[in-house]
């Protein structure tokens, strides 16, 4: 029998619904002084690309009201270094490891997925489709339903591993993108990635971030993320990993009620290294106190409220 907190994420079973979100948890090892891997549902590693990337010039981070902008620029050692030097170290930790990949062409999504397919100890691949498509003039894959679907289909050709498509909110209709990536073979959708924004340095009268633009995250974006999860839940039948500004277990339960089967915790890790573990423990207490024997019964429950019938 599964514990009350266990969730089924397509082909994956997680011991609890809390996932450390990509880019905020490094390659897991950085957080081992603070979190027992058994406290996590899963971890999504920092995005890797086919080639190593230097990343953007600093400053790469700017604090904003109840949140932050980041413009790291996908700095990473490349997929080969991940396979050779990092993944072998992670096998001793008892937590599902999800590898996040980003391609700059459709073909790169295929190559990355195929290369990682052969590596043991990977629970799933997350497709970071918020990176620019260089073949389409640099527009992010995830902005356009056709391009998003092409990236997912390419990865699908390359692997039998479970595929999670991470969706960007910087698009006209996120539900439309979700429908297309599911059709293209995504087993799970994760949302939302950061919102595009910027900050100005008043003293020097210039953009604050070295990259000019950055991605907004943290509590400030939670309402946008909840709305996106709500819309996507009504649009697709695959499980959703909901995220965007989750810092407490109450936030996490709101996402679950909006339609998320699991939740991602991102920016909160930067403030509280134990955020993931504390949120998982809080959800567990909430279930016990409310005599909920199976978390999945809460998924999307807010859609089934009385007043929702007949809503336009």
């Amino acid at each position: 029998m599964m514990a009350a907190t266990a969730v089924r994420l397509g082909p994956l079973v997680l011991r609890n619904p809390v996932i450390a979100a990509s880019g905020t948890f490094g390659f897991l090892l950085e957080y081992m002084p603070y979190v027992d891997p058994q406290e996590l549902g899963a971890v999504v590693l920092k995005t890797v690309t086919l080639e190593p990337r230097t990343g953007n010039p600093p400053p790469r981070i700017a604090e904003t009201p109840a949140g932050l902008l980041n413009a790291v620029g996908l700095q990473n050692p490349g997929v080969d270094a991940l396979i050779e030097h990092v993944l072998p170290l992670l096998r001793e930790y008892s937590v599902p490891v999800i590898v996040s990949i980003a391609g700059f062409t459709v073909e790169e999504f295929y190559i990355l997925a195929a290369r990682l397919s052969a590596v043991p100890g990977i629970a799933a691949l997350e497709l970071n489709i918020s990176c620019p498509n260089v073949e389409a003039g640099g527009t992010a894959f995830g902005v356009d339903p056709d391009m998003a679907a092409a990236a997912v289909a390419a990865a699908r050709r390359g692997t039998a591993l479970p595929l999670i498509a991470k969706l960007t909110p910087n698009t006209a209709d996120i539900a439309a993108v979700a429908r297309r990536v599911v059709k293209a073979g995504a087993d799970v959708v994760a949302l939302i990635n950061t919102l595009k924004g910027m900050a100005i340095d008043l003293v020097h009268r210039r953009p604050l971030l070295g990259n000019v633009f950055g991605g907004l995250s943290g509590p400030a974006i939670k309402p946008v993320a909840l709305r996106a999860v709500w819309e996507v839940y009504e649009a697709v039948d695959v499980p959703i990993i909901g995220m965007g500004g989750i810092t407490t277990w109450q936030d996490a339960v709101e996402f679950i009620l909006a339609g998320a089967t699991a939740v991602g915790v991102g920016s909160a890790n930067l403030v509280n290294p134990r955020a993931t573990a504390e949120i998982a423990a809080g959800i567990s207490r909430y279930l016990a106190e409310n005599h909920v024997e199976d978390l999945s019964t809460l998924v999307g429950a807010a859609h089934r409220w009385e007043g929702n019938r007949g809503r336009a």
Binding site: P58, T64, L270, P273
Partner: protein, 260 residues
């Protein structure tokens, strides 16, 4: 091993214009910390301001189990910190980062401080003196009022030279000018201060082929090496690579930093 602790504030006093010294009860941090390391401080118990603030450890008292933080109010976060009262608790994460190297005795060592950069150098001076070194501190600031904790540095058995931009006390000029005016070539240099000052000092140190370690600054996120936000350029082989202030720093060999 870093700790996460709700550290009680024992005292807080203004030691210069908008500059504060806060003493915290944090026995484990006091025990483990080495000079140059920092603690990552939550300035609010609510969601805004959101991020922690990295503050170098100014002083530790292992007997009393306390650490002191010296900082200047530069924005909303540090203003909140300056408003902390004795009895309130401050959530800290640390000690974090790589500290200064304490060389084997007994050498002639020069410490160079610019403005609030003096923060980590009290702790360092104490440890270097304790290890049997001869220490000279070059303390530079805008004006006399910003030569923070000058009275306390004067109590240490070191050579203490001051420099102010306006000449209100000590030599007129910067701590880097004071370094250029040294009559004896030291064995090693330690420094902390604003990046332009450190860049100028790096050039001066390189000119006389001296080894040096500097404490670097950059806007920081997690403090534990995960988010890759606090990057600086480090010379690597023929080229350079980004390194993290929070893990590979904040103390870093001066000759390896690419100054922009």
């Amino acid at each position: 091993m870093p700790y996460i602790a709700d550290a009680p504030v024992l005292s807080r006093r203004e030691v210069g214009p908008g500059c504060f010294l806060v003493e915290l009860e944090a026995p484990a941090v006091a025990q483990d910390a080495v000079p140059g390391q920092f603690v990552h401080v939550r300035v609010s118990t609510t969601l805004d301001p959101f991020l922690r603030r990295p503050l170098s450890i100014h002083r530790v008292d292992t007997r009393r189990g306390t650490i002191s933080l010296l900082f200047q109010v530069v924005g909303r976060g540090t203003a909140l910190l300056a408003g902390m009262r004795p009895g309130e608790r401050l959530n800290i994460l640390g000690p974090l980062g790589r500290g200064f190297t304490v060389l084997p005795p007994s050498r002639d060592l020069v410490l160079v401080a610019g403005g609030i950069g003096v923060a980590p150098l009290f702790f360092l001076a104490e440890r270097l003196l304790g290890a049997g070194h001869r220490v000279t501190l070059l303390h530079g600031a805008r004006t006399q009022a910003y030569l923070l904790l000058a009275d306390e540095f004067a109590t240490l058995p070191l050579t203490y030279l001051q420099a102010t931009d306006d000449g209100s006390t000590g030599i007129r000029g910067t701590a880097v000018d004071a370094f250029a005016g040294l009559e004896r070539r030291p064995d090693f240099v330690y420094a902390a201060g604003p990046m332009p000052m450190l860049a100028a000092l790096a050039a001066a140190v390189r000119a006389v082929r001296l080894g040096a370690e500097f404490s670097l600054e950059e806007r920081m996120g997690c403090g534990v090496g995960a988010c890759m936000c606090c990057s600086f350029k480090s010379r690597e082989g023929e080229g350079w690579a980004y390194r993290r202030v929070c893990v590979e720093g904040p103390v870093y060999p001066a000759e390896k930093v690419v100054w922009e």
